[in-house]
Symmetry: C2
Subunit: 361 residues, 2 copies
């Protein structure tokens, strides 16, 4: 989508061969572009969350494999790359998907052509992701149109960032919103701050603001109250991993919003590309939940009045903190899964109706 | 309770007549004491939340009336004081209760004795609050003992700050926890950060740490996940206003935790003095919800590495923010109301069983 009137993707390869990303840890206060030159560059930007969002992580990992093969195209180097990148974020299932795709693409090719093939496959993965998100957007747009037919302004609540910078373009949860806005529907987005890393207040708000979509940042505590008041027409969130049974792992706190939506008869949708579905897992109970550094809870970086970033401690000195990155929303609380093939009921039967080829996986 | 080994209350009158409070906006990083000299001082520290917590606000308002009468004991001055203090925080019902008590105490007395009577009544209100909190603690302790009989460590989740600094001493939600800790039960508290003002991460964590109670700060998003994992044995929160029907207005986000507790069969208790019950209101739908400045969401004050406080912006520049201070947890989600007279079912019948004198209010 657009930044300062110019169209960007979250990751791209320049005509001179350089792979570039937007440093998402600098947003919303600085718009900085980083160049990835090595496997280690790619792994590090995933670990530090300079790139984040399942599809964007997958695309970055794909280019990471290509960069590794540019340096050393041996089987050993390929294995090292797959292992290094695969260990960066345990919860993201399409990180593994992208790595498998890359391995499949290059493995049976001679060493000298592997890098070129890898870059080509990485570019395809990016292109496919854009088309997938566009399709998710179109299916979600239909849901928004249903609400727009009933009232002039449609209020949508979202959690974390499942926008274009979390994918390659368009986003997942935000794709229908961008499309609704672009076709002239009066959409307004309640943006959950999304502690501890504030991806909502920082990234989603920045994305929507850059594109001109009306939105209001709220604390993670506020969504339930807004739903009780009737100020939320529907929720749309993304997911890092959805099970075959329709359970949804997403940013910590998603489960609480799903409970509130259910309690107030607010439709709760999860937008996802098929790469996010873990066909091998029936129940969300089996999804490993990443625990991250306590410092992400105890400290927080913002912008001082003088325009400089500053990290401040926000918890009582000496108090311990725990930092669970995701939670699992059980399928029973999910109104529907917005995929690139349409809107599925959040169940094995619902998903298999759209993905019949997975019946025997 | 203790700070640096010394016992404090949240508000007290020195033998020389000075009224002092702990500046709660400076916690947890600085322990500073302020002197209240005028009505305006008292009103201002309530508005700026230098004192907060319903009982502590009530006590401060009581002393505010006394300070006003010290300067001018006329009926007009009394009315001005009641009106000025009554307008500081619309949701706190026992602010109104304390003001009524003060008016009742002084109204039919000659002007020259009003100030002395007012200070005496304010001191009584403080004393009564301490005894009330002690009784709440004892009743809540029984609930914790039930859990302690089943497992060695009892994990309790709390939201915001309903500790001793929110009252005069002991606290409401934290009183049972302090008592359990003091009698040697291994209690561990999950402390919700409680955005936007971080009263959990700042005040509850500071209180518990100062008293030596094991605790872990978590983001407001994390509690649902912890309950799903079985890591929460019970929840205890405070309330700013509870209706006759048992609906509970408390810090924004309480409703979300109550939903999660209900969904996971975790008992959800609300601790409250009778002064917090609004006998004139049956349904929580009728409780006015205070909206506060957006800047509390967009900006946040913490401590820099050099030990100096700093306010930083945490939202995307240009993005609007909304700041609802409370939400209402419906009685159906509340396991019980821990009052100074015992644990009531969260219903009109349950409350009237403990407060039969209110049957015809």
């Amino acid at each position: 989508m657009n930044v300062n009137g110019e169209h960007y993707r979250s990751i791209w390869r320049e005509s001179d061969g350089a792979v570039r990303i937007i440093d998402q840890t600098r947003l919303p206060f600085r718009f900085e572009i980083l160049e990835l030159e090595t496997l280690e560059d790619a792994a590090r930007v995933i670990e530090t969350m300079q790139v984040r969002g399942a599809p964007c992580i997958g695309a970055t990992a794909a280019y990471g494999v290509a960069l590794a093969l540019l340096e050393d195209a041996s089987d050993e180097a390929l294995e090292v790359a797959l292992s290094r990148l695969g260990g960066t974020r345990p919860t993201a299932v399409n990180l593994q998907w992208a790595l498998n795709e890359m391995a499949l693409a290059v493995r049976n090719h001679p060493h000298e052509s592997r890098a070129q093939i890898a870059f080509q496959r990485a570019a395809e993965i990016c292109h496919e992701d854009v088309e997938t998100c566009r399709a998710i957007g179109a299916h979600g747009l239909k849901l928004i149109l249903t609400h727009a037919a009933k009232k002039s302004r449609v209020n949508i609540l979202t959690h974390c960032n499942a926008g274009w910078i979390a994918t390659v373009d368009w986003g997942t949860a935000l794709a229908p919103i961008y499309m609704a806005h672009d076709v002239g529907i009066d959409v307004h987005v309640w943006v959950d701050e999304t502690r501890p890393r504030n991806q909502g207040a920082a990234l989603t708000a920045w994305e929507l603001g850059s594109h001109g979509v009306p939105h209001t940042v709220i604390t993670d505590n506020a969504g339930g109250h807004l739903m009780q008041r009737g100020d939320v027409d529907l929720c749309i969130v993304g997911t890092d991993r959805t099970t075959r049974g329709g359970d949804v792992a997403n940013k910590i706190g998603t489960y609480l919003k799903a409970l509130a939506a259910y309690d107030n008869n607010v439709p709760f949708y999860v937008a996802l590309p098929h790469t996010t579905i873990d066909w091998g897992l029936l129940s969300g109970d089996d999804i490993p939940i990443e625990e991250r550094a306590a410092e992400e809870v105890t400290h927080l970086t913002g912008l001082k009045a003088n325009g400089e970033p500053e990290s401040v401690q926000v918890t009582a000195p000496g108090s311990a903190a725990a930092n669970f990155a995701f939670d699992v929303t059980p399928a029973r609380l999910v109104t529907g899964l917005i995929t690139e093939r349409g809107v599925a009921e959040a169940s094995e039967a619902g998903l298999l109706k759209l993905y019949p080829e997975r019946a025997h996986d």
